[in-house]
Each structure stands twice: as structure tokens, then as C-alpha cells.
Symmetry: C2
Subunit: 518 residues, 2 copies
Amino acid sequence: MKTAVQLLETLADGGVDVCFANPGTSEMHLVAALDQVPRIRPVLGLFEGVVTGAADGYGRMTGKPALTLLHLGPGLTNGAANLHNAFRARTPIINLIGDHATYHRKNDAPLQSDIEALARPVSRWLATAETPVQAVELAAWALTTATRQGPGSLIIPADVAWSDEEVPTPVPDPSGPAPSTWNSRIDDVAARLRTPGCAVVIGGRFLSAEACAAAARIGAAPGAPVMTETFPARVERGRGRAALPRIPYMIEMSAGLLGAVETVVLVGAPAPVAFFALPGRPTHPTGADADFLTLVEPGEDPTAALLALADAVAGPAAEAVTGSPADAPVLAGADHEKALDADLLARVVAATLPDQAIVCDESISLGFYAYDYAAGAAPHDWLALTGGAIGQGLPLATGAAIACPERRVVALQADGSALYTLQALWTQAREGLNVTNIILNNGAYAILDLELARAGATPGGPAARALFDLTRPAIDFTALAAGFGVPATRVHTAGELAAALDRAHATPGPSLIEAMFR
Amino acid sequence: MKTAVQLLETLADGGVDVCFANPGTSEMHLVAALDQVPRIRPVLGLFEGVVTGAADGYGRMTGKPALTLLHLGPGLTNGAANLHNAFRARTPIINLIGDHATYHRKNDAPLQSDIEALARPVSRWLATAETPVQAVELAAWALTTATRQGPGSLIIPADVAWSDEEVPTPVPDPSGPAPSTWNSRIDDVAARLRTPGCAVVIGGRFLSAEACAAAARIGAAPGAPVMTETFPARVERGRGRAALPRIPYMIEMSAGLLGAVETVVLVGAPAPVAFFALPGRPTHPTGADADFLTLVEPGEDPTAALLALADAVAGPAAEAVTGSPADAPVLAGADHEKALDADLLARVVAATLPDQAIVCDESISLGFYAYDYAAGAAPHDWLALTGGAIGQGLPLATGAAIACPERRVVALQADGSALYTLQALWTQAREGLNVTNIILNNGAYAILDLELARAGATPGGPAARALFDLTRPAIDFTALAAGFGVPATRVHTAGELAAALDRAHATPGPSLIEAMFR
């Protein structure tokens, strides 16, 4: 199994220090090789959706490649929904997918399937190592490619992994990323922004506080509104930092904001589109004649371009614009006794948020106000559901906590989506991760009630209602958390939630708060 | 949404009466249409792996198409591992997968992905309905094709589902399945079976008691051993029925059985191959010169051919051969106090098995003896893990119980695999299904310890051991079951298990027994 060891050594040399894993028989030599490469820490997930979602959280927070270890086609597809989210976030992830031995693939053994076909739609790059030399070379290539392009898949047949052939150490790729071309467009874009009818949409893998501050300066100067994409992969925000609005999720609202805009400047974000097409509603928030100017392509870091554009538009001396609410949200005395609702939830979460918290947001309908209130909370990172594939939140929080052990991670988690990948709690307990999991229990896929109405398919009868209902029987998240070794508590009022959050944030290790909205 | 209604009406006309569903926004009109087609009962799964696994269980037990409703690419991939198992079992399943509206696909909205590419490796047939006429025609085609070939996928864009166009009712396909060709080969095969060095391997979607009895007559007559494939989709067995051995899972054992065989007659089974290639071990249990005679192709019903072959080989008057152990397994008095092990487990399960039980077997390492002991148990059906993609057991049991509400379903379930799709428990509770779930808790992916050794990658160090360990922290399945609304108990001894099984089998609705092996 020299090849397995050399492959992992190559990855470790490139900075890989964690392997999120749920292996099977075809990965046994890679598993054994982990014992020879102690620089890489194995982290077990009980389900591949946990593994890939954790890799996404780790990659978003560190910016360096997160490694997964997956078992053939079924292991990959179990993790594919969260890879879809990572694909949209362009998170640097290297999926090592074990395959049958090369000479066994023709035999159509029970676990045989077309792994490349399954991997391609969730991979920005893809390769199968047919030989030991290729395996080690492709590992070096994967490091560079994942960092530049996002998640991808490297398929390793078992006999390649177990080979004892000694292969050459790959020479690192000396070429840097392709040079940016935005410089040549700054003046044109700045000139356009001085005319009326413009808007700026920013996005990308990481909207740093610096990038957001520059964007806010652009927005303040010529009067062109600046906003982020609807579900940014990661944005630094909170008190003292720029508070940029997001493009609203609902096309009815985003069209109100962007419908009359003549020119949209895109800085790291794709052109905004409706999340879903609905009968009688537009597919784009922008009008049919809107013009798009791309300053920075999606995937490219927007920071330098935003700084340059801010200088060009507002001048280097222009003051930073924080735009944050003057005061942190507070809970009035009378609010403490009130039953939770979306507004109280948002205020309590913001008021209690620890400094440098990382919020993993899969709050769906109940989190409607949480993002805006948190603009006045302690400085934090916010990670959104980038691809719309639910089941991201708890795994993402798990990986973010492994990336940043000194910071508190807060999973703001809808109940229905939590149940896709609840096994993440066990990894949190096993690794002693500092995660506060807030389960928003309204006993329903509430968003679907809304979507049914928006789709014009109301009124829903008993069949439709049954498919949105999570109360028959009621799900007890405190029992589920206990089963996975995570201490849990249930709260009904704003005051109870605030007290539970203060306790959870201050206690090392994971905990779960089941916040009842019914 | 006339098209959505017409599509479901067409399926209902073809016998579809259950829709296993986990829908999202793109399926809202299909959801609403379920209220107009009350002949189809919606059954909600909290995760798509539950939905597809339940469809597999339902399809295996009824032989008629099981319908699923899945949400775009991520919903499909969440269910793909169990579709992989169904693909191997050739279970009749129609996956209705919602997609973006046809005119929105070009916009690369966040949930856009190549659904056909993701579906193809787990689908024996595949189509996208681009128009309302196609949607209804393809529904009719799907009924026939799923019944003949196994699981497949029908992708329905949202605007096709919500169309109010009235389309023609499709004319049912008058052609029957392709005529069988085995008749012409019976005499040749029978002649060959009268020579030494033959073996017969049978398999397929359903090995009925009648088929197994015929196979046993074939095995008894000329001395050619008859065995089933390693993981049959469904086999009728138990007291008074033929007890056919399975080809062992481990190539070391199967090669011992088949290594010297000169001719293998295949009746509904593919040629046997190793589950995995391992260093220094063969990929086939048969020798290099073995000759294969296919009497019945995989997927085709083997029953008639087995009856004809038995008549040709043994004569119509040959006595039925049950081959079952004379006595049902019993538990001696002293055994009651003993801590559970694989042997005691097998004896207790067999001794307590209710008449006409349906055993869904994902017992992995601890179930090593269960199949053989159950040959002497009450008559039952046994459903195996056909494709090796774990997470099948609890969903399969859920679907089998919906198919056969009057029978007791017994899920014989390893702990590690149970945690892939544990959400199935909730559907069992919601629908009041008669399932006894036995979780075999050894706190480990024990099979991987064995596979590590078989792969020659021992000794495993701390990294490898950590990836097989489920005890840090210990997982409490009784708490997890309670969280999903299923009553649960924990047992340590054979006597406790027997008593708990008797209680569970006799109590309507689901229950869970956590059997401790550590």
C-alpha cells in the first residue's frame, strides 16, 4: 500500500490535515495508510452527507482543501446533496472515492456503478487514477485544482491504492492561477456606476469584512445600491462591519428591488435568477433589457477588485461605511415570557451571539429575520445554504468547528432539514466540538406550505397537508440528541431561549436547544 | 395542473396505490394532484433514502410498481444508494423526479443540476417529459417498463406538471413481455446436468417456494448442487419449504464450493463474482475454465424454467425435497442467561419468528448464522441487501410492511448501517406499521475490521480503529427510537431477546429492540 501512503503524504504536504471519512472495503488501504500519515486527522461521520457537509464547512472557513474519503458510487451519492451545495459555494474539497480494483470493474460486482457519471454533476474537476503514478500525480493536481475551482473527485481503484510500486514524488505546479483581468475594466465600470439605474451584486467563496467595507463605500458614493447574492457561502459581518442587504429569496421581493435597474455590475456573483420558476412569475428579478457587466467572475476573489472599484468611485479617502444598526438587538423585559416567533428568535440569537461566532444558517422559513437582526450582533461569519439542498446545516457546523476550534459555531437549523443529516451530532460529540445547535421546531415543512401557495396549487387538501406535517408523531429532538451523545434542552419562550443560549455558548463542547414554535 | 392529475390517474389506473414521497417546491403541483387522486396514498419519508428503500420493499413484496416522488438532483441522489440496491434487485419502481420548469433550466438556478446524468446509473429506464402529452404517455410506458425491467426515473419539469392542457389518455401497451426462450434450452441443460461437475445457481426478483422446491428437486436428482445467489432480492423459505444454500459472501468460501465446478447453470442469476477484489484472491469463485449455461436471464422469472428443468432431470413424479432441518431451533434453558452472540441471536430469531414473517436482513457481520437457522423457522420471506449499499434495512422493512399490513416484518439490522436511514422509524410510527426492528449493537463497523484483515492491510493502527469505532460516544438506540416515536427496549441476554421479540411480534405497530453485543 505504498501508493496509498504516497498519495496521502502528497496531500499532507499540500496542507491537508483532516480527512472526513466514511469508508468501506474498497478504501481499506487508504484507511490503513492514515496510520502512516499522522499529519492527517481522521474524522468519522456516520453518514456520507455528514462527511461532505463537514468538508464544506471546513473548506469555507479555512480556504484550503478539505479531504473526504467515500465508498464507491453509493457512498458518493449519499454525500452528493451536500457536495451540490459545496459545488455552488465553490468550496475547495477533494473527494477520494474508492473503486473496485481496475481488473474487477468488468465483472459487474454488486457494488459496481458508474462513479464518474455520478460524480460529474457535483464536481468541478474529476479524474480516475488508473495507475500508482497517476494516483500521486493526480493528488498534487487535485490540491491546486480544488483550491482554484472548488470541489472535485479523485477516484482511486483498490489495486492502485494497495500497490507497493514506488512512484516519483510529483513536482508541484509552479504556475499560479490565471491572472485576473478585472483591472482593465475598473474604469469602465466606475464610469457606468456614475450614471443612474445601476446596482452592484457581490458574491463568491468569501466576502471578507474588508470586501464588504469596500462594497459599502461603492454603494454609498454614487447611489447605486450594493447587495450580496441571496445565499453567500461565507460573509464577515456584525457590529462595526458593513451591513449589506442580500437579494431576497422570493422573486416577488427581489424583482421589486432590481426590476427597474438598467445595469447590474457583478463582482464575484452570477447574474441573479429566481430560485424556482412559478406560474405567472418572472424568472429574473431584473427587467428584460437589463445590462450585465461582469467585473469579477464567480469563484474569483472579489476583494481586490472591490477595493479598486471603491477607490475609483469614491476616492481612496472616502470614509468606511458600516451601515450596521447603532445598537445591538436587546430583549425587553416583557419579551422574556413570550412564546417564540420568528421575530423574537432573531432578536435573541443576535443578542446572545458570541464574538467571532460562526453561524451556519439552515433556518429556512423561521429564520426570516435572523440575518438582518444579526447585522447588529457581535462580529461573526455567516454561512448560507448555497445550493438549496437541505441537510447542510448540522454537517456544515461540524466542519466549521473542526476548522476553527477556538470559535463558537451556531447552527440555526430548521427541524425538517435537520432530520436529513442529524447524525452530525454524533461527530460533534465525538470530537468535542464547540457547536450550539438550535433546532427550530414548528413541526412542519413550513416553507412548502408557502411554496404551494406561491405555485398557485392551493388549497392543499389532506394529502398535501400530510406531506408537510411533522407532528404525527411529534419528533423529540432532545431524545434524538441524547441518543447521539449531545446534551439537549427544550425551550418555549424567548427568555428560556436566551438563557439556554448563554449557557450553551459558554459550555465547551456541543449542545442542542430544541426551540418550540408550536 | 391537469397534467399532474392525469399523470397520477394514469399511474393509478395501472395499479399504483402508494406514493413514497419527500417532495420540494418543484413538485408542488404533483403534491396538490395527490389530493385529486385519492386512490394513491401518500407516505412521507423524512429523508429520500427512506423513500426509495421503502419503495424497494414495497415493490419486492407486491411485484407491482412502487411510486416515489423526489426533489430534483439532490433529492434523487439522497435516495440513490437504495435505488442502487433496487437496481440490483430489479424491483419495479417509478421515480417521479421534479425538475425546474423547462424554460428555467437554462438559467442555472441554485438547485439546477444534470438530473439525467445522476439518475442513469441507478435507473434501468429513464425519460424526461418535455410536454404534457409526453408526461402522460411516459407514465403509461413507465408502468410497463418498471414492471419488466426494474427501477427507473421519469423527470417532470414543473411547468409540465402545472399545465392545464388536456391531453389524450394513453392507450395501454398491448404487447406482452418478450417471449421466454428457455424452453429450447431445457433438454441441453438437463443433459449436461446428468454429467459430473455441474452446479446450478438460481436467482432473480423473487424465488418463490414453488421455484425453490423445483430447484431442490433438480439438486437432489443428479447430484449437481443447487444454490441461490448470495443476496437474493426475495426468497420464500422456512419449515416445510426447500432450504437452498446461498453462495457464501466470502470468496475464500465460495471458491471452495465452486472452484472445481466445470459447468454452472444460471437460472435467473448472473455469473457469480467476488463482492470485492482483494490482493492475492480470485475475482471469481469458479475456476478459469468453468463453462456457463444461462437458462434464464437475470430479471426473468425463473419459476417455470425451474419446474420444467426439474421435470426433465428428475421426472414429474419425483418427490418434493424440503431439506429443512427437522426441528425448529430451540433455546435450551441454560442459554437464556447467556450474553448474546451471533449464534444465540440466530437461534432466538428463528425460534420466535412469526408465521409468514418478512425478514429484512441488513445484519452484516452479526447475522452470519441467521439465514441458515431460519431455514427451520416458521415459513417466511427473506429479503437481502442486494446491492451492498448500506442503509437499506429499516426503509425496506417500512415498505414491506406497507405492502403486507397483515404480516409481521422483522428488520434484522446492524448498528452502523441502521444509522444511515434511521428516519425510517418515524414513518413506521406514523403509519402504524407492524415492524419489529432488531438493532444489533456491537458498537463498531465490525465488518470493516474483517475486511481490513482480508485486504492484507493489518494491523490497523489508532487511525483505522477510530474509523471503525461507534462507542465514542456510545449510541443509544432506545433514545433515538423514542425521538422518532417508536417504543424501544434494550436486551443483553438470549432470554431477554426472546421475551422482547415475543412481545414485539405480538404488539401491533412498530417497536425497536436494541440487542447489545458488548
